[in-house]
Amino acid sequence: MSYTIQGDTGPWEVVVGLEVHAQVLSKAKLFSGAATAFGAEPNSQVSFVDAGFPGMLPVINEECIAQAVRTGLGLNAEIHLWSRFDRKNYFYADLPQGYQISQYAHPIVGRGSVEITLSDGSTKTIGITRLHLEQDAGKSLHDQHPTKSFIDLNRAGVALMEIVSEPDIRSPEEAGAYLAKLRQIMRYLGTCDGNMDEGSLRADVNVSVRRPGEGYRTRCEVKNVNSVKFVMQAVEAEARRQIEIWEAGGVVEQETRLFDVARGVTRSMRSKEDAHDYRYFPDPDLPPLVLEQSWVDQLKATLPELPDQRRARYIAMGLTPYDAHVLTIERETAAFFEEVARGRDAKLAANWVTGEYFAALNRLKRSVTDSPVSARHLGELLDLIADGTLSGKLAKEVFEAMLEADEPPAAIVERRGLRQVTDAGAIAAAVEAVLAAHADKVAEYRAGKEKLFGFFVGQTMKAMAGKGNPALVNEVLKAKLG
């Protein structure tokens, strides 16, 4: 079923395209040697190039180019061996040169595609129009002084990848899934850290609505949305606003809007008439960027495994598609899982990571990167289950103890005496004591009240402080009651 919004006059389809700005993961800026670390003292990471001083010239940072090419390869996209940097001219206090250097006419990456997975398990392919490199601007701080604005140029000149999608997205869910998938791919590739709260990843969301089967209507652009959740909300809010206008007999005007997170609505930022004339032209300080196919091939050969490939590999290892999906969402989670599973039963490892381990993270409000238990120790716990030292129940008890202090599970077993009892003699003794103490129940059982078997199991385990091997306890009870 395709997504529609029911208006007063009938159903409306939503058409969405995203322009995602992803900060290139790189030690230095796109055209200067200045550093890029987040959260540094204002104006502490600024070279004279970034500050637009007279006579300063941009020099391309090769690592940023490689990162853009890796991302393009990860998006199954054409890599353009010839691309060019243009100047986008406009005045603003945090734009030191008075222009942004951006690949307007000839981007480094062309058409590609991304496959998204939706909550009902279905998949959909979203087309990528292009990926181009550009400089970020600085930051204006208007709240530091009653009459003055302050400028922080730390971000000025930082390399951004602008990834433009085709208008293939048809619902808030698809928009969210697409952004999450882009983020996932770039984090796997190590080309963008995807930290949306630090501004490393932002989306401009283009939204229009139409009657099913109709051509495109006017779109509006919702600028700078900085989370997957807000993208989904912005799509819906903007679509509903447009539907209301069309249904009231009005006309949607093309404009740039902002998403008001607190009120959950979009509001106008500037209309088409206020749009800048950016006077794009090729930057004469930078010759066209020409790449060797062999260099691109080399980057391709050394590309890290992508999430889709990894998920397929996990399914081949015996995991359910669901577990494979959940474990590959974050690269760190997948790495954690792989360390737990290395040399062990992959299915058991997946059950433990997605079960007890995820539940514990939720409960403790922790994450894999800040894990209370190391993958090595969790793996050792699985070994203790496999060699019969621990029953499933005991293992859970040991795991709880591990959450308190990340110790080797064997040490916890030893100290707490949690070792499972598999000694047939000890079990037989315990069973005999239980049967002797409950002679009346034994008689009822033998007279046909078979559901009392569970009672004997419970009493035996209780007598053994939970450490009896459950299979052996069952076996001995059956024989004795026989």
Binding site: F53, P54, L57, V59, N89, A93, G98, P287
Partner: protein, 491 residues
């Protein structure tokens, strides 16, 4: 011979023979500046103390046997080159008290080779002009004057008017200059000295205040072709800080000056024979070609069919790039700031007060030609014509090894002439802009005097990165012309 009369080559020889010290040389030039600069206004900033200190350090290096190729040579620096710790104005009010915390690559290399800087030279504001009249620091006077009207003050040409006037009047042994449409060659010709705009990419643009990035190129002006060759060798070379600088070794240009022209084919472009061109200019051109034939070269007529479009093309491309390059002068981070009610007001007040009329005109032209709806008709069309102009030259190189033309359509004009119409002023560049559009080396050589006793120059254009042939032809012209005339105002 007085120290200020020495050519740069003679100065180097005198220093090597310990006939003079770098300090004595610097003092002689500083004294000349003190005496004549109040009239000529060639220097915006004179760094006398720093020059003496540098000269002493130079003498010490020479004494230790560590002399560089320009050890002790006193130079003037066009005020478009950023010089660490020394105010750099681009002859504009907008840079205000700006003191760069960095050094341009070209001046850093000159210092590395032992040169002593006397100060910063006047120029047209942001290198936009052909007269030095657009400087916010006042016009420069040409040290030459007309025989029949000696009191009438003439322009030195531009934009490197201060550089050319200072060298001609012996206020520097040589000077740095820059050339975007003729800004080295036209003032050199107006002041009776030599000047070369090398191939685009030969000298780093790092640290030079940008006018039009795809055309700007640094080069030297000096009294002789050989002096230019010596200076260019120090100024040139690949710089990783300029992505448009060429990764090529720097040849020994000085050795090429005396190479001779035997067997060279000299192209004579028909299209440079402008209707109404002064007969004196035409005669000098013919004379120059005759000298080269006498020296063993062959002259061949060639065609550069798109020449007539060069000037309009230049006046689209250069302002377009300038309008963007000058956006950074906004009063926010350095230089002049005029307070405003809000950001837009601050921009408008700062830029209105900071930029002169010619700079404002070019920013507006450039903004216009890049605007939506006009881009294709102007900027894009100009780029296409530029490619055709380049192709004209590429085709010509199959028929000749160098091209010789007049350097300028007239001799120096008076400060009070041609003020009313900017387009007439732009015609000064008619012979020189083609080399910038095609990125080729162009050398101006003083070759004769007009009937008023004013110097006239010839231009030699060569293949890309073949400055050696250009120097060889220029050297031959210089020897044949035997230009020994001197300006009226001179140290």
């Amino acid at each position: 011979m007085r120290p200020t009369d020495l050519t740069l080559a003679q100065g180097l020889a005198a220093l090597e023979r310990r006939e003079i010290s770098a300090l004595e040389l610097a003092d002689a030039f500083l004294a000349a500046i003190e005496r004549l600069n109040p009239r000529l206004n060639a220097y915006i900033t004179v760094t006398a103390e720093a020059a003496r200190e540098a000269a002493r350090a130079s003498d010490a290096r020479r004494a230790r046997g560590e002399a560089g190729p320009l050890e002790g040579i006193p130079l003037g620096i066009k005020d478009l080159f950023c010089t660490e710790g020394v105010r750099t104005t681009a002859a504009s009010r907008i840079l205000g008290p700006f003191v760069p915390p960095y050094e341009s690559t070209v001046t850093a290399q000159l210092k590395r080779d032992g040169a002593v800087f006397l100060g910063k030279l006047n120029m047209d504001e942001f290198a936009m002009g052909s007269s030095n009249l657009t400087s916010a620091y006042g016009p420069v006077e040409n040290p030459w004057s007309r025989a029949n009207d000696p009191a009438r003050r003439l322009v030195p040409g531009g934009s490197s008017g201060g550089s050319a006037a200072a060298v001609a009047a012996r206020l520097a042994m040589g000077a740095t200059a820059t050339d975007t449409g003729g800004s080295i060659r036209q003032p050199a010709a107006f002041c009776g000295i030599a000047g070369i705009k090398p191939t685009y990419g030969r000298c780093s643009r790092f640290g030079i205040v940008a006018f039009a990035s795809s055309l700007d190129q640094a080069g030297p002006v000096a009294r002789t072709v050989e002096d230019c060759a010596i200076l260019l060798r120090s100024m040139a070379g690949h710089d990783p800080k300029d992505s448009t600088s060429a990764r090529l070794p720097v040849p020994d240009f000085r050795a090429a000056v005396g190479r001779g022209v035997k067997g060279l084919r000299i192209g004579v472009p028909e299209e440079y024979r402008l209707p109404g061109m002064a007969p004196e200019i035409e005669a000098l051109w013919e004379q120059g070609l005759a000298w080269l034939r006498e020296a063993g070269a062959e002259t061949v007529p060639i065609s550069l069919p798109h020449t007539k479009y060069a000037l309009p093309t230049y006046y689209v491309v250069a302002p377009a790039e300038a309008s963007s390059n000058l956006a950074r002068y906004d009063g926010v981070r350095f230089g002049l700031r005029e307070s405003g009610a809000d950001l837009k007001d601050l921009y408008e007040r700062t830029r209105a007060r900071g930029f002169g009329a010619e700079v404002r005109r070019r920013i507006m032209i450039g903004t216009y030609v890049l605007s939506a709806g006009y881009y294709d008709a102007y900027y894009l069309k100009a780029q296409k014509v530029r490619a055709l102009i380049r192709r004209d030259f590429e085709q010509a190189w199959s028929r000749c090894d160098a091209i010789v033309t007049p350097a300028t359509p007239t001799a120096a004009f008076a400060m009070d002439e041609r003020q009313d119409d900017p387009v007439t002023m732009y015609l000064n560049d008619v012979f020189t802009v083609t080399a910038n559009l095609a990125g080729l080396p162009g050398l101006a050589v003083p070759a004769g005097l007009d009937s008023q006793g004013l110097p006239l120059g010839l231009q030699v254009i060569g293949r890309a990165f073949d400055e050696e042939t250009v120097f060889a032809v220029g050297g031959a012209l210089e020897r044949a012309a035997g230009f020994t005339a001197q300006p009226g105002i001179m140290a």
